[in-house]
Amino acid sequence: MASSTRVTFPNKLLPYLLLAPQLAITIIFFYWPASQAIQQSVLREDPFGLATQFVGLGNFKRVLNDPNYLNSLQVTVVFSVATALIAMALALLLAVMADKVVRGKGIYRTLLIWPYAVAPAIAGMLWLFLFNPSMGTLAYLIRSTGYNWDPLLDSGQAMVLVVAAAAWKQISYNFLFFVAGLQSIPKSLIEAAAIDGAGENKRFWTIIFPLLAPTTFFLLVVNTVYAFFDTFGIIHAVTGGGPGKATETLVYKVYNDGFVNLILGDSAAQSVILMVIVIALTAIQFRYVERKVHYG
């Protein structure tokens, strides 16, 4: 008959001391700037930075009516969906294959997790080395077929290149989770399906894929967050948001407006919008966590 409450130490002061470092850093570097972003987002500064004026939701209105912002929203959606789909589809394929082989599992895993350790910006550079029209070997091969490959000038090609680099980097991560997900599916279920006469293909789509749904959904959220935020380095290093504004994602625009163009009010309003997006994504993820508990 163990007591149901957690066993604890009776000290009164100690817990506050233990929490102090994390709280201090959290307050100074999270709550303070976040509140400033919110404050800034309802103010407008004159070009000389001499006077500020309260403008209510004016910055938000302007940002949301700005064709450049809407363009960047669209770019972000296209970029994120493409990156997430490609990274997840390839990772799932590889994970299913890795689940099938008997020998060499460990070696395959070791060789597939490298990109996880590569910085997004460097991932972008590696792909740029390959596809740079002036010196990239693969660019050379494409151009030698007569196709006019120049991702630095063609906006569609630029998007293809950053998506490829972003998806490449994320394959490792998705692969590890799909492997774990596959391992957690009881073998007896698959055997039962086999006895019920389901062939290999059918087993995958009717048993394995539905049971992987929690993992897939989780990865969808994580990949979206990754494509939204962590890929700043790829864009910055490879295309700089160009050509034109073809690869200017939301985070890149916040950076660009705030640090390069110095439009503080707009940049702050964009930050607040981004915060709302992240909180929404996190909330979705928590709903998923709850549901997973439900699955048992």
């Binding site: 008959m1 163990a2 007591s3 066993v7 009776p10």
Partner: protein
């Protein structure tokens, strides 16, 4: 070595949940006191209050004539054996046993001597270099005991230490604990929900129910004179049979209206409960009535032969009873069986469950 004295000890969770309601127990030096009761009766809470792991809402706990209410567990000079053993998983057996001594700043050579002695007593010497996960359940149990005895404390506290072992090992360890406790002569408090364990181990048995003490005494005294229907049905296996009766002046009436002969017991007007142990009766072959005894006619529901004896399950006055019959029983399901319980073997309880006869 020490006595343990609980005076009006109470535990209230939050503002209203009374887990322990004013308990008084005095345990003599060297005695083994068993707290027994169903889960949720407050026995573990009480033990943890003695240990200092749970704060005391009211009353006093005294160990060796010293009030320890406000002392931490380490200052009370007690040792505890936990239900799940609570061995430190990353430490070797040796270190598990030595940890408490090190924390007290005992010199190394002395620690070594103590640990090896304890290991010898418990036959753990060859396991000192193993980690807990490399041990069987019984071995872990011994290590937990070893950790308690190296400390040479004033009081041992046991929190259902055998409940994670299989039946055979449990019986074996029960005997060992008893012998060890005798040999060391350390005052002990032992919590269990197993009445057999309680009966065989206890010098003093404390039966608890709903946060209060129902009865304190020597195990056999409690067995023979349970103070309430709760104790009667908790101690003993199979438990005491309890039959509700009312009196109409010249005889007794069972629940379903069946009249039975008077027993000479003073059954109060509002009715009472008559209790008898399954073994305290004889099977009557004929209709002869037995002066002063209770004669019951059972409808047999089933018979379980377990070897040396048989349990006959029956129904009388709408209430289920069980009787023990030596050897094989000739009765069969659907038969009826007449049993006679001698008057001196009858227990009489009031409607409130309290014992009436002595």
């Amino acid at each position: 070595m020490a006595s343990v004295e609980l005076t009006d000890v109470r535990k209230v969770y939050g503002s209203s949940v009374e887990a322990v309601k004013g308990v008084n127990i005095a345990i003599e030096d060297g005695a083994l006191c068993v707290l027994v009761g169903p889960s949720g009766c407050g026995k573990s809470t009480l033990l943890r209050m003695i240990a200092g792991l749970e704060s005391i809402t009211g009353g006093t706990v005294r160990i060796d004539d010293r009030t320890v209410n406000d002392l931490g567990p380490a200052e009370r000079d007690i040792a505890m054996v936990f239900q799940n053993y609570a061995l430190y998983p990353h430490m070797k057996v040796y270190d598990n046993m030595a940890y408490g001594l090190r924390n007290r700043g005992m010199p190394k050579d002395q620690i070594d001597k103590r640990v090896r002695e304890a290991a010898q007593t418990l036959e753990l010497t060859h396991l000192l270099d193993r980690r807990p996960r490399e041990l069987s359940g019984g071995q872990r149990q011994r290590v937990a005991m070893g950790r308690a005895i190296v400390r040479n404390p004033k009081v041992f506290l046991f929190d259902e230490p055998l409940s994670n072992l299989d039946a055979k090992l449990r019986g074996q360890m029960r005997v060992e604990i008893k012998n060890l406790q005798r040999q060391l002569g350390v005052t002990s408090v032992y919590v269990t929900h197993d009445q057999l364990e309680a009966m065989t181990l206890a010098d003093i048995l404390v039966v608890m129910n709903a946060g209060a003490v129902e009865q304190i005494g020597a195990p056999l005294d409690i067995y023979e004179k349970p103070a309430s229907t709760f104790v009667a049905s908790f101690i003993g296996a199979p438990p005491m049979n309890l039959v509700h009766v009312t009196s109409d002046g010249n005889g007794l009436i069972l629940n379903d209206g069946t009249k039975i002969g008077a027993t000479g017991l003073a059954v109060p007007g509002e009715g009472a409960v008559i209790g008898f142990r399954p073994e305290d009766l004889e099977v009557a072959a004929d209709e002869k009535s037995h002066a002063g005894g209770l004669v019951l006619e059972l409808g047999i529901l089933g018979v379980e032969p377990v070897g040396a004896e048989s349990y006959v399950y029956g129904i009388v006055g709408g209430e289920r009873v069980v009787v023990r019959v030596a050897g094989r029983s000739a009765s069969q399901t659907g038969d009826s069986l007449r049993v006679i319980i001698p008057r001196e073997k009858l227990h009489l309880f009031g409607k409130d469950g309290k014992r009436l006869n002595d």
